[in-house]
Amino acid sequence: MNKENTVRFAKEIRLETAKMLMMRGFGHLGGSFSIVETLAVLYNDIMNINPSDPKSEDRDWFVLSKGHAGPALYATLALKGYFPKDWLMTLNDNGTRLPSHPDRLRTPGVDCTTGSLGQGSSQAVGVAKSFQMDNKPNRVYTIIGDGELNEGQVWEAFQFAAHQKLDNLIVFIDENHKQLDGLTKDIINPFDIRLKMEAFGFNAMRVDGNDVEAIYNAIQKAFLVKEKPSVIVLDTIKGQGVEYFEKMFDNHHIRFAGESEMMLKDAIEILEKEVSE
């Protein structure tokens, strides 16, 4: 990978996401920002994709199980050329093709409809199983939130993935340590997620989810493991990449007004500068 390129791509994703949320005046900033680096690595350096033919049969699949981070995915897809960038400014508009949660029937490049938490995990294992049955080389990537681990369905999906030896599947768990109502450890403590996943039969790693190189290297390691699904637990910060929002406690869904609006404006200006350098 060209680290500089990917870091820049991450900044572009964060910038476009911020602009969408600024335009809308509210949105899921915290969980969108925490997955930006992972999206940058996947779409820039890892996945076999064809933005001009989003449904091409040989593509790799991406399932954003934590669907509320839709804006970050839309920014990524637009930057990759799946659809015109000006669509981004229609986020959550009446009749938009970019609803708050990803919808495969509305947005080019969205492989699975998600938003009701837990369900993307099952769709992802189903897609992976299908490719395994047909001996196809397509890979499946999914990002699950740490709060989403509250949902029993993800553990059903994990058991299935390990039992079926889905080595074409890489699960990312975005451990940003928070869910809507507060810290995950205060609501339903997930304890050591990596250890849990190892016990569930996964090849389990944990990396700094802000470090594109670490994410890239973990994926390369996952590729070497056969007959086991891999999980990469991403140690991230909710609101990652903009200090003000990292420090804001209630940053799951933010309404931008007063100070938070100013800070988002500042962040956009800084990111614009950094991206144009």
């Binding site: 399932v63 995990s121 099952s122 769709q123 992802a124 294992v125 992976a128 199983k129 299908s130 059903e156």
Partner: protein
């Protein structure tokens, strides 16, 4: 639509029909896969699992994941047939049926077995009287409640050939044979099995046979009863309901389901929306739960058998 009334009472088990039909489908279409949630022993699909090992998956006791994974498979071109008991195929997984299923426009085919009184000795916990009410409220779904083995087979094949989410509810044991094996059906088309000038019974599933029994009894009293098989719950044949209800003294619905949200409600909606004043009586499970028991016993206590139909018709016509 070509319908030939069968004379023989062959009574193949529905689960045998399911397996035999899937055997044919899997032979002819490599995209058909079969999923079960630790009920292979109950569905009798072991034969399928043996013959098509790589295309049959026991998902374990995890119905939510089964619906979601099947939806995922379908997006890559597979045609997953899913079996579990009707309560777990609907009540337990409503949100998966919604988001991963119909809202995503995935292509999954669900056989919910042993609805209503067919839960027999599994009792109230395993009984669903709500599956039609729940699934009818979903957009973009086809719901079928076949009344005999031939029709069940047709439903399975139609599901394989038609893109979209299908929910097929039926017991696992045998029903009375109603149709000759060459019969053809249509989605959204009810089947007029008998004409009769006084009363019309719209029935589904095993209740079609009960309607026949009731008809025989009532004929002796000079009451003529028409019978319509409404196996296609969604799409629903509103036209046939309008036509067949016209001029009757009484409309009856008969279903192995709650009186809320199922066939009775569907017929009531048609009558009301067309300002038809024919009185309606619903032979369905009243607002109560089921219990353990034999099928005969449960049909009796739940008041969803031929006797219940006869009593309601007799008393309604008397008071009218």
């Amino acid at each position: 639509m070509k319908i030939i009334r069968a004379i023989e009472q062959k009574k193949p088990e529905f689960r045998a029909v399911y397996v035999e039909t899937l055997m044919e489908l899997m032979e002819s279409n490599p995209n058909v896969v079969n999923l079960d949630a630790d009920l292979v022993g109950a569905s009798g699909a072991a034969k399928l699992f043996k013959k098509y090992e790589s295309r049959c998956i026991n998902m374990g006791i995890s119905e939510a994941n089964m619906i979601g994974a099947a939806a995922g498979m379908s997006l890559t071109g597979k045609i997953p047939f899913i079996h579990t008991f009707a309560p777990f195929a609907t009540r337990r997984v409503m949100d998966q049926l919604y988001m991963s299923g119909v809202y995503s426009n995935s292509n999954i085919k669900i056989y919910g077995s042993d609805p209503g009184f067919w839960a027999i000795h599994n009792g109230g916990t395993h009984t669903t009287m709500e599956d039609l009410a729940l699934t009818r409220a979903l957009a973009n779904i086809t719901i079928l409640a076949p009344s005999d083995a031939t029709q069940f087979k047709w439903c399975i094949k139609k599901a394989a050939d038609t893109y979209g989410v299908f929910y097929i509810r039926a017991g696992r044991k045998s029903f009375v044979d109603l149709y000759d094996s060459s019969s053809q059906f249509e989605l959204g088309k009810g089947i007029i099995l008998e004409q009769g000038k006084n009363v019309v019974i719209y029935a589904i599933g095993e209740m079609v046979a009960e309607a026949y029994k009731a008809r025989e009894i009532l004929l002796k009293e000079g009451i003529e009863v028409a019978i319509v098989d409404m196996f296609s719950i969604k799409p629903f044949d509103e036209k046939i309901v309008k036509e067949m209800s016209q001029g009757k003294s009484l409309v009856i619905t008969a279903e192995n389901h709650s009186k809320y949200g199922g066939l009775g409600s569907a017929v009531a909606e048609v009558l009301a929306e067309n300002a038809m004043s024919t009185p309606l009586r619903r032979i369905a499970v009243q607002d109560r739960f089921s219990e353990v028991g034999t099928a005969d016993y449960l049909q009796k206590v739940l008041k969803i058998d031929a006797n219940a139909i006869v009593e309601v018709i007799q008393s309604s016509l008397k008071t009218d």
